[in-house]
Amino acid sequence: MSIQVKFFASLKERLNLDDHTIDNAATAGEVWDITTDHADRPDNVLVAINLEYAQFDSAVQDGDEVAFFPPVTGG
């Protein structure tokens, strides 16, 4: 099993985490815990699985891309 993990913007800077790949996780929350070494989950953190918004308890599968980022501020 292989899951791609990405962080963006202030969250990426604050956690000081680069993109990487993990071997095994059942949910996006587990992906967070593994990659951040169980860092607190900020209230406003957004989760995306395969480019769609998801939740920490959303299931992940082999080949998924999971991303964590702060509230968006484009436009």
Binding site: A9, N44, L51, E65, A67, P70, V72, T73, G74, G75
Partner: protein, 145 residues
């Protein structure tokens, strides 16, 4: 229907004009509504000297296209163009444009207004301001008022 992520400054009026002239919807439109977001020149707040827009490239492109698709299901639109800058943006440079073409006025006006709000709340872009005292991530979007 088209969306573009741009790394360089662009002229929104020229972009809209060019798109309209090359469009396959030809001359069936009677209404065009556009919105342009521009980086303000903070004369009253000289702290901000530039802005950098980070994004999540694959998801950004996916979301702009998805928003266009959703607008098309809600309104009778002939065409939609979205352009959004990323990278370093200087004061007075355009940040993004939305243009909607329709036969009748309410579709283009309402879709344009809806698209800007949806884009602001859903498309994965993040602004970081460069200030005389360092850089700072913009925490959240304003309500536009």
């Amino acid at each position: 229907m088209a969306s573009y992520i741009l790394e360089q400054p662009f002229n929104p009026w020229l972009a809209i004009s060019d798109h309209q002239q090359s469009a396959t919807f030809a001359q069936q439109f009677g209404a065009t509504a556009t919105f342009i977001g521009t980086m303000r020149d903070f004369n009253d707040n000289a702290d901000v000297t530039a802005m950098t827009l980070e994004h999540y490239p694959a998801m950004t492109q996916h979301y702009l296209d998805k928003l266009i698709d959703e607008a098309k299901t809600q309104w009778d639109l002939l065409d939609v163009l979205i352009m959004h800058r990323v990278g370093e943006i200087k004061p007075t440079e355009p940040i993004m444009l939305i243009a909607c073409w329709s036969a009748h006025r309410r579709a283009s006006l309402d879709a344009c207004s809806w698209l800007i709000e949806e884009l602001k709340h859903r498309a994965p872009f993040w602004k970081k301001e460069s200030r005389t005292d360092g850089e700072r991530w913009v925490e959240k979007n304003t309500d536009g008022l």
